[in-house]
Amino acid sequence: MTVLAAPAPRVRTWPGSRVNGWTLALGIYLIVFYAVLYGPLLMVVLLSFNDSEVTGFPLIGFTTKWYALVLSRPDLLAALGNSFAVGIVAASVATMLALLLSMAFRRVFSGQQIILGLVLLPIVLPGILGGIVLLIFFGYLGIRPGLYSTVLVAHVNWVLPFAFLTLYPRLRGFDKALEEAAMDLGARRHQVLRLVVLPIIRPAVIATFLFSFSLSFDEFIRTVFVTGFDRTVPVVFWGAIVDRLAPELPAMAVIIIAVSTVGSLCGFAISARARNRSH
């Protein structure tokens, strides 16, 4: 980003002024790409207000009854509560583990590569197997499926690598001289941590928490194998798709999109602010 953002001398855009056709073609392609990316999502928003018993077209009239229906379904409200609760706990656990891990990774130590491989394992393992291994593991241990047991474990497994990958670059970029200065001025280790390190990395930690929450909130494939009676939002949504194409599905989809978008936008804003401050 720094390279291209550099001011004068003004660099002509690739591939040169002679053939602006290429730049134009790329620009048009970009518009088409974003249209295809967002078109289906915007269409679901449109359909969520469609006063029709079938999920689809034609558009008949405007209604908000599907939202009213969705928000009055007790199973969905319970699922929303479950998703928020397990999301907050899973994001807290994952962020805490990732924070400690990132602090460890600030210096090179023996065994680091093994730990890194271990951390990346849940990303590399196909999602469906991430659910199945826990299903049989907890099944044979005699642990009953539950929100704060099996589902929480599945979510932390999934979220932890991403929490680490979000947090670690921030801690690596942290200026060690600040810490050393504090030490030289007579601060003790825990004082350095509390008064110097934590205030600086706090935005990154909050951003990591919000991204983790968003990932947890959206998790489906691992959850569906270990869920008990306390189902999460994506699991209930899945059930509604598979059972029948219920007319309130678009409204449900919009609510899910809204929650995860707000969560990740907050994360973006906070991490962008943190980046600006640290530069």
Partner: protein, 299 residues
């Protein structure tokens, strides 16, 4: 890493290593207990025996024998690999120009578009897969538009529940994992190189083929690996958008656990998928540092 010139004594290095392990310990213990142990248990179970009375410990190779005895399973595995490779290639073709175009932009416009690229990927892929049903289905946007225009009399059924719709869904859901690493690689490209190539008389296509493409290759490999790994284990997309011809290996594995209750055989199928994944990782590691794939692209 230590900036001080004096060599650190061995004992202090050990102390530092100990401290680092101490900090890493909670995560390590968590992953050993909840990721490594369950995977190991599943590998063990692939040698067990499932009967109608349940799955009993043992050490038999019947489950693996069954995979090889019935050509259907190997066929399905190969078909799934084919779909995953196709998804990867299509994602590459779709994503590369996007990454290139974004890397050419500047300032606020670029920041906004990059953010807009990220945003949908923080929404559940179940939702992002579902959105194609009201587009491709009988009451979907395409069919209803064609009907309204009088181009067809009956809704088309070929839009959904086949391999094509699965590919479309997979590319839609996973394309960011291709765009992002290529974009990061292109961002690192020094404009001076392009200028030098131009001054030496290279044509735009030559600049692309000889300078831009080779230098963005690490991003291409990273992205391809990520998309392939995600696509090869797909379950949701083929389940929702695929018909009989769109079934993937993930659905077959899930069936053993969700409906057939043959956990031992399901485990053997799962191990087969894991072997494929790790084989791909092993081959890829000859071309890229795997660490770079996951850690490098995000700094």
């Amino acid at each position: 890493m230590n900036s001080r010139a004096a060599p650190t004594p061995v004992s202090r290095r050990w102390a530092a290593t100990g401290a680092a392990w101490g900090l890493a310990l909670p995560a390590v213990v968590w992953l050993l207990a909840f990721a490594v142990a369950p995977i190991g248990f599943m590998v063990a179970m692939s040698f067990w025996k499932s009967t109608i009375f349940g799955t009993r410990p043992g050490f038999i190779f019947d489950n693996y024998g069954r995979i090889f005895a019935n050509p259907l399973y190997l066929q399905q595995l190969l078909n799934t690999l084919r779909i995953a490779v196709l998804t990867t290639i299509i994602s590459l073709i779709v994503s590369y120009p996007v990454a290139l175009a974004l890397s050419q932009l500047k300032g606020r416009k670029k920041a906004v578009l990059v953010l807009l690229l990220f945003l949908p990927f923080w929404t559940s892929y179940v939702v992002r897969t579902f959105v194609w049903l009201p587009i491709l289905g009988r009451n979907g946007a395409i069919n209803q538009a064609l009907l309204a225009a009088g181009l067809i009399d009956q809704p088309l059924d070929i839009l959904l529940y086949n391999e094509g719709s699965v590919l479309l869904g997979l590319v839609y859901v996973y394309t960011l994992f291709m765009t992002l690493p290529i974009y990061v690689a292109l961002e690192k490209l020094d404009p001076a190189l392009l200028e030098a190539a131009r001054d030496l008389g290279a044509r735009p296509l030559q600049i692309f083929a000889r300078v831009i493409l080779p230098l963005s290759l690490p991003g291409v490999i990273s992205g391809s690996l990520m998309v392939f790994l995600l696509a090869v284990g797909a379950y949701v997309t083929p389940q929702l958008l695929g018909g009989p011809s769109g079934v993937m290996f993930g659905n077959i594995i899930a069936g053993q656990f969700l409906s057939n209750n043959n956990w031992a055989f399901g485990s053997a199928l799962a191990v087969a998928l894991i072997v494929v994944v790790f084989a791909v990782l092993a081959v890829s590691s000859r071309f890229v540092r795997l660490q770079q794939v996951f850690v490098g692209g995000r700094s």
